[in-house]
Amino acid sequence: MLDKRILEKLFRQNYSEMIHLARVLLGDDAEAEDVVQDIFLRVAEADLPPRKEGYLLTAVRNACLNRIRQMQVREKVKNLLPMGAEADLQLRGATEERADDISAYVDEHLQEPHRSIFHLRFDDDLTIAEIARRLHLNPNTTYKYLAQSIQQIRTHFKR
């Protein structure tokens, strides 16, 4: 087993970045914690610490991908997690830049109340009915506005 002092040093150096990534990819703090702890338990069993730079973050991505693959479809959509082949792309970091661009686009180009609806739905996890109540809108109108925003963003990034 790996020397405990080496393990602790490795843990303290990398844990924050690893848990951050796992939380982003899984959208569940408890699951993310499990993933990172499991990785360190495996590292602890090895005789030597991982030598490759970025090994631990790659291990997080792979472990998260495995978790998502094992989830039921309903569980995935609840946390808005990628499905099928898209999971591979998104979790391996291929679409990270685009995710940031989407966020910037929303803030810069969406008009109100579209922008607020978008943020309340994806940042605060409110349902359409809750958003409608909060913004004093008709639920059907709220649905329409959100659908319009999604169409607009898609059209922009399709270019």
Binding site: F11, R23, L41, L80, Q90, S103, T127, A147, I153
Partner: protein, 212 residues
Amino acid sequence: METTKEHILRLLEMLDNPEAYTEQEIEDIINHDDDTREAYNLMVEAKRSSRRRKADAAVDVDGAWQRLEQQLQPRHQNLRRMKIAASFIGVLFVSGIAFAAIQLIRHTQQWSPKTEVVVNDATPINVAPTDTLGNDTLVVQPVVYDNIPLKKMLAEIAAHYDAKVTFQSDEARELRFRFVWNPQQGIDQVVSDLNQFNCLKVTLKDNVIIVE
């Protein structure tokens, strides 16, 4: 026919309440067409981007390390137990080899005289030479030579006392009789015992057993 916008509306409705749909219905809604699937993926990315902004919150590394330590403890204990068990197995294994070796030596040492010595003896007596095993670990038994040529018998006895044997008569070499040798006795006593046989005259000179 439903438009893309209507499909996205259905997708949004489903995402608000996935419990109301079966697994198959959920998949069918998301994969209805490329536009709906892309809309879902876009929402996934938007959500991920949102999580990334939120995930900058402070992380309790100390607490996480303590939780890991708690999980490691039973593993360390199990490993320690396994190591101790492995050590025991190792000791037993080595002991087993040593025991087997002793048994083998005993068997080998006992076997050679027995095959020839105890030809007509119903109650053979075993021997373990004193130069092989210490007196404290083994009681040396007398050896019975029965119907064994004297040349062979004396060769073994002389070897035990680190002596030599000289036959002055060829006839004496082939003599056969029953003789009980106690290795714990001195060589002088053995010579004396041999001289009890009328047909033999044995002397000891300069650590050489001379048979006339």
